[in-house]
């Protein structure tokens, strides 16, 4: 039976190696869901049943969370079983998740946002100043691979451009949210 995706999709079918790698990844995912669901179930069962308050036993706080834990265990088990049947049990297959460069770029992006959120946001620095530092540094670091590929060094013009964008972003957001619409900023 044709599915809706078939109407327009031009994607090629995955190769056996890709399918096996995906199945192995899903198997790990299914097991992780089962562990997580077990944790939710265990914590729900340990929740206070408020017997001292003489509440109706059908209204204990852990009722729905426990059911959700069971659902996660069952669905995680189904996912793991399906992946197992699709060849996910074979270890050592090639992985197609991300290239080394993509991982480095992602680590850089996450590092920048965590550093900004934890170190600059709400630590006494005015919002516009923290925003300007974050945006300027982000632009300069995220464009570094492109400069390296083109064999260029960081120029004063590029620094000035990044700084101008950073200051403008910090000032405009502060003006629009805080001054124009009276919204508190972190």
């Amino acid at each position: 039976m044709a599915t809706l995706a078939d109407l327009t999709s031009t994607d090629a079918l995955p190769s056996p190696d890709e399918a096996r790698a995906a199945a192995a990844s899903e198997l790990r995912g299914g097991l992780a869901w089962m562990v997580f669901g077990s944790g939710v179930l265990a914590l729900s069962l340990r929740m206070d049943r408020l017997e001292a308050q003489h509440i109706n036993p059908y209204t204990v706080p852990g009722l729905l969370p426990a059911l959700l834990g069971i659902v996660m265990i069952l669905l995680g088990g189904l996912l793991a079983l399906r992946s197992w049947r699709r060849g996910g049990r074979f270890e050592g297959g090639p992985r197609f998740a991300m290239t080394g460069e993509a991982v480095r770029r992602l680590a850089l992006v996450i590092g920048l946002i965590v550093a900004y959120t934890v170190a600059l946001l709400g630590r006494g620095l005015p919002f516009w100043a923290g925003a300007a530092i974050y945006v300027t540094v982000s632009i300069l670091l995220l464009q570094a691979p492109q400069r390296a590929a083109e064999g260029r060094r960081l120029s004063a013009r590029e620094i000035a451009f990044a700084l101008a964008i950073g200051l403008a972003a910090g000032w405009i957001i502060t003006f629009v949210f805080q001054d124009a619409f009276l919204v508190r900023l972190p």
Partner: protein, 516 residues
């Protein structure tokens, strides 16, 4: 009926002042800009605008949000046509034919068709919104705990089944959303669940920070981790809306409008389903099947009309039942609650005029996209030239402000960060965010309805299955879940034979597209 018309006229007149018009146009413009930028979704722009409009009067704030919602979905078709990348997930169905037309040098014509389809589709949906919301709310007044339990479960189950390409992953995300909604003080006894003694968690995970993380930060990470730049096709011909083609393809327009609204009514299904189902139906009955995917006007019209008609369709259950039809309408519902309007069956009693105000807002939004479609197509395309390395850090700044502003808590920013990074990795593994969002919204309702229902029946489960409306919801929910059991599915196929192939193919869609 005439009182409804009078309410609608009064609501329209209420918005005919310079402030409301400027706010509506501004909301639509921001929505279009976000829609044009690939990856940034309607959910994100509504969440961010919810925070910025928090001090505005309720009517003007909701007007801005609805205009941005309509604008984002409309703007997404630009990128679909010119870059072959859907600006929002809802525009994915427009890619094939829109991009093919653009490659033939007819980009302006494709944009004109998208504009007219979007305008007519939204208006059609608005008519349904006005006609059906009050009646549905009246029916919903008969709902009790048993019915709301099934309605919430039905929403999460449907969303998990239809969104994405793997129902197991969809249901898991729905269960995760329901679980996250249980964190914090529960509603009956103020008992702290899963807080581990941490006071900040007692307030629970707020919806806006969670949505900003799942749809904003996750997209920032996706965009920067995958720096593929595609060449933009130049617009050389006229971009004027093509109402002649609307008249020519009137059957497609009406059919897609009906499908869009009906898919909109299904909880958590997303606007992309409206577009894909309309596209499939148009292809099934079209005389020019061979042109589909190669620049079919019929196909583009169907996709654009279907996704835009689903917007008012999503707002109908949101207003009448308090069950959002999609992720953007979930934020819209949260914004209504922030502004003191509780959507749901009681709304027709507590705020009887509000439904007609929403109808007026949505029709106003459709007019704004027509205006921008006429005058601002080419200038707005300039924003596609901004490099991601410049744009995405600024989007992240907006995410932090959006997460912080509703409650002025830094904890919400940290929650946004954790949910965003988690959503990024889950999305890369094929997990969709729409069921998670619906679970997060419906979690408290499911919890209270289950426990209240059990108290009312003194632990007896039979009322969950024997009350007429409960029984109907239970049958549909269980049937939907069982359809994914191969033996049951084969039995259903044998029983139904070859009929309804188009509808089944639409429901069995295997495509991994995120919601708006």
């Amino acid at each position: 009926m005439f009182s409804g018309l009078a309410d609608f006229a009064n609501a329209w007149l209420g918005f005919m002042n310079p402030t409301s018009i400027a706010l509506g146009l501004g909301g639509a413009l921001l929505g279009i800009i976000v829609g044009i930028l690939p990856g940034l979704s309607a959910t994100l722009v509504i969440a961010l605008l919810t925070t910025i409009t928090i001090k505005l009067p309720a009517n003007n704030a909701i007007l801005v949000l609805i205009c941005s919602y309509v604008g984002a979905l409309y703007g997404g078709s630009r990128t679909a046509i010119l870059l072959n990348i859907p600006g929002t997930a809802a525009n994915a169905a427009s890619c094939a034919d829109g991009y093919a037309l653009a490659q033939r040098g007819e980009a302006g014509r494709a944009i004109g068709i998208a504009t007219s389809g979007a305008f007519v589709g939204t208006l059609f949906g608005v008519l349904c919104l006005a006609a059906f919301t009050p009646s549905l709310a009246e029916v919903a007044l008969a709902f009790g705990a048993f019915e709301f339990f099934w309605l919430a479960l039905f929403g999460v189950a449907m969303s998990g089944s239809i969104v994405g390409d793997d129902p197991i992953k969809g249901w898991l995300m729905g269960a995760l959303g329901l679980f996250v909604a249980q964190i914090g003080q529960e509603g009956l006894y103020a008992y702290d669940r899963f807080t581990f003694g941490w006071d900040q968690l007692a307030g629970g995970i707020s919806l806006i920070p969670a949505l900003v993380g799942a749809f904003g930060l996750a997209e920032v990470l996706t965009s920067l981790a995958d720096p593929v730049e595609k060449k933009l096709i130049q617009v050389k011909d006229s971009v004027l809306p093509r109402f002649r083609e609307v008249a020519q393809y009137w059957r497609t327009v009406i059919r897609s409008g009906v499908i869009g609204v009906l898919t909109g009514l299904l909880p958590g299904v997303g606007e992309d389903s409206g577009a894909w189902m309309s596209y499939a139906a148009a292809k099934a009955v079209s005389k020019e099947k061979h042109l589909f995917g190669k620049g079919s006007i019929d196909g583009l019209m169907a996709a654009e009309t279907g996704d835009m008609a689903s917007i008012p369709g999503h707002i109908i259950p949101c207003l009448a039942l308090g069950i959002p039809g999609s992720a953007p309408s979930a934020v819209l519902m949260a914004a209504m609650i922030i502004h003191g309007i509780q959507p749901g069956p009681m709304m027709m009693i507590t705020h009887p005029h509000f439904v007609y105000e929403v109808v007026a807002m949505t029709s106003l939004a459709s007019v704004t996209i027509l205006i921008f479609g006429l005058f601002l197509v080419r200038p707005l395309l300039v924003i596609l030239k901004i490099r991601r390395t410049v744009l995405m850090p600024i989007i992240f700044l907006l995410c932090t402000v959006g997460a912080f502003a509703t409650a002025s808590r830094l904890f919400d920013v940290y929650a946004m960060l954790v949910i965003g990074v988690g959503a990024f990795f889950l999305r890369r593994r094929g997990y969709q965010m729409a069921p998670f969002v619906l679970g997060l919204v419906l979690g408290p309702l499911l919890d209270k309805s289950l426990r209240r229902g059990l108290v009312l029946s003194d632990g007896d489960l039979s009322p969950f299955f024997t009350r007429p409306i409960s029984m109907a919801f239970a049958v549909v929910t269980i049937f939907t879940l069982l359809l994914y059991v191969p033996a049951f599915k084969a039995a259903v196929r044998r029983a139904t034979g070859g009929t309804g192939r188009v509808f089944r193919s639409a429901l069995g869609r295997k495509r991994s597209e995120d919601t708006a």
